[in-house]
Symmetry: C2
Subunit: 304 residues, 2 copies
C-alpha cells in the first residue's frame, strides 16, 4: 500500500559521549522514509532541501525505492540544520543550533501521483504544515499518523490541537505526553490525549520502550537492551517509520496488528541507535530485521 511521508530532510551535527559528527544527513523524513522502504516499495517523500543537500543521499533513497517527486530542492537556499549534544545518560540533550532555512517557508506540494496515499505519516513539523498536507489529499488516507514535539506545544498549541482532531494515531514521548495533559501518570495522560481526537496514542519512552493506547486497550513493547547506544538521534522517527511501514505493508489497522507494528518500530529503532545518523538504516536486510524481531519476542516471553 502507498505510504506518504512528510517531514524534514536536513543536516544534523551531533555530539554524544562516544563521538562527534560534522554535518551529516538527518531529519525526521530521512529516517522515516528510509525505514519505510524496508516495508513497502511505495514510499513517497514530501520535503524540502536547499542546494547544499548531498545528491548521493537522494540517490540512496532512489536505490531503496523511495519516490522523491515530492522533494523540493531550492538551489539558492540552505537546508534545515540542527545541532545537539547528548548528556551522559543519552536520554536527554541540549539543542546547540537550529537554523530553519528552507523549512521556514516550507509549502508541502503533493505531486499528483501521491493522491493515492493510503498511509500518511506526518513527521515532526509545524502543525500548520501537517494540516496543509491533510487538506491537500483529495481522498482521506486509510490511516494518518502524526508525530510532534514539545516545541509545538509551546508555540503553536491551537494548530497542534487542530491537527490532532484529524489524525488516527499520535506519537509523543513521555515528557511531551505529560506536558500536553498536565498528568503525570501516563495511563491518565493517554486518556486525555485520546479525548483530544486521535483513536490511538503511542507514548515513546526512549530506552524504556513504548506504550500503545486505545480507549480500551494497552500494549507495551520494551526497547531492546543494547551493549552500544551510539546516537539516539532519529530513533523516534525510525520507530514511527517501522510502525506505519508494517501497517502499510500488511494493510491491517486493527489494534492487534498495531501491536505488531510497535514491535517492528522498536526493532528498527534498535538498529538506528547503533550508528551515527541514518547509517545503520542504509544496508539492512529482511533477515537482520527478522532476527531482531525474534529477539524482541524472546525478551518479553514469560512463558506463563
Amino acid at each position: 500500500m502507498s505510504l506518504v511521508v512528510v517531514g524534514s530532510v536536513a543536516f544534523d551535527a551531533i555530539e554524544t559521549p562516544f563521538g562527534k559528527t560534522d554535518k551529516i544527513v538527518g531529519g525526521a523524513a530521512s529516517f522515516i522514509s528510509l525505514t519505510g522502504s524496508y516495508f513497502t516499495p511505495k514510499t513517497k517523500l514530501v520535503a524540502v532541501v536547499g542546494g547544499d543537500f548531498p545528491r548521493n543521499f537522494i540517490e540512496l533513497l532512489h536505490t531503496r525505492g523511495v519516490n522523491t517527486e515530492g522533494l523540493q530542492i531550492k538551489e539558492n537556499e540552505k537546508s534545515f540544520f540542527w545541532s545537539g549534544r547528548y548528556h551522559n545518560d543519552m536520554n536527554s540533550r541540549d539543542t546547540l543550533v537550529t537554523e530553519l532555512n528552507v523549512l521556514g517557508t516550507f509549502d508541502p506540494l503533493l505531486p499528483e501521483t501521491y493522491q493515492d496515499c493510503e498511509y500518511l505519516m506526518l513527521g515532526n513539523l509545524a502543525p500548520s504544515v501537517q494540516l496543509t498536507v491533510i487538506e491537500r489529499l483529495r481522498k482521506r488516507p486509510k490511516l494518518i499518523v502524526m508525530d510532534t514535539m514539545n516545541f509545538w506545544m509551546e508555540v503553536a498549541l491551537d494548530d497542534l490541537k487542530a491537527v490532532m482532531k484529524k489524525v488516527d494515531v499520535i506519537s509523543v514521548n513521555d515528557s511531551e505526553a505529560r506536558q500536553l495533559t498536565g498528568e503525570y501518570a501516563l495511563k491518565t495522560a493517554a486518556k486525555k490525549i485520546l479525548d483530544m481526537g486521535p483513536k490511538f496514542v503511542i507514548i515513546k519512552k526512549g530506552e524504556h520502550g513504548a506504550l500503545l493506547f486505545s480507549k480500551t486497550q494497552i500494549f507495551f513493547a520494551p526497547a531492546l537492551p543494547l551493549e552500544i547506544v551510539f546516537d539516539p538521534t532519529g530513533a523516534g522517527d525510525t520507530f514511527a517509520g517501522g510502525f506505519i511501514g508494517h501497517l502499510a505493508k500488511t494493510g491491517d489497522i486493527s489494534f492487534t496488528n498495531m501491536k505488531r507494528a510497535i514491535v517492528y518500530g522498536s526493532a528498527m529503532a534498535s538498529f538506528c541507535v547503533e550508528k551515527f545518523g541514518t547509517e545503520a538504516l542504509e544496508n539492512l536486510t529482511q533477515e537482520k530485521i527478522q532476527t531482531r524481531i525474534t529477539e524482541f519476542a524472546e525478551l518479553v516471553n514469560a512463558e506463563m
Copy 2:
C-alpha cells in the same frame, strides 16, 4: 518450601506529591515477608525492632502465617527510622532522616527452626550482616537472593563483593548497576555484575520495569501502567518478595521459572505503590493477584 527473609523492620515517614505520613511501618523485610506470605506458608522473618514497634503489625504477620521467631524485640531501644521525600517524578527521592537505632548493632540470630531454609532472601542491609546470615545456615539454601543499594557500594564495597560471591541472584536498580560497574549500557553492566559472582542479576527500573540476566539470556518485564502511583516506598522489596515467593512456592529455579517469578514480583509491586506503606499488601487475595498477572501477560502479548 521454606523462605527465610532477612532485613529491616522499621518506621518510615514519607512525603509524596500526593500526601504525607507520620511514622508508619516500613522496612525491607516488612514488605518482603508480607509479600512472601501470599506464596508460601513457610515464610520466616529475621529482623530486629525496638520496644516502640507496634505489636499489631507483628500480629498481622502472624495472621498472614509469617513465623517471627527470628524477630528480636529490644524493649529499651528504638526501631530503625527512615524519612524521605519523593520528587514530582516519583522516581527519585531525598532522604530526610536516617536513625539506625537497633539496626546499628543488629546481630541476626537464626532460630533452630530456620535451619531448614531452602530459599533465603537477604533484603537490603549491611553486607556484613547479610554474610553472617549465610554463614549461620548450616546447610546452604537452594537459592540465595540478595538486594542491596548504592550506600553500601560507597561505604562497604569489599563486604558487598564478598556477599556477591556467595549468592545466586542479586537485585539492584539501574543507577546502582551503573555505579557498581562504571558501565552505562545495562547489558554490559549486567555482564560485569555476573562476573562478580551471582549467576543471575535483576536490574530494577522502577516505573520502567525490570530486567533479568543470566550469562546467556535476558528477560524483561514492564511495570504495569497505573493511573495512581501513590507511594513507591517498598516497591523494590515487594518485587523481591514476589520473585522469591514464586520460586519458593514452585521449587523450580530454572531461568524459565525465574521469568515467571519476575512477572509475579512486578504484579505484587504494582499493588504496593497504590497505597502508603504496606497497606496494599495486607488484604490481597489470590484472585486479585491472578487478575493482575493476566493484565501483565496481555500488556506485552504482541501476538506475533
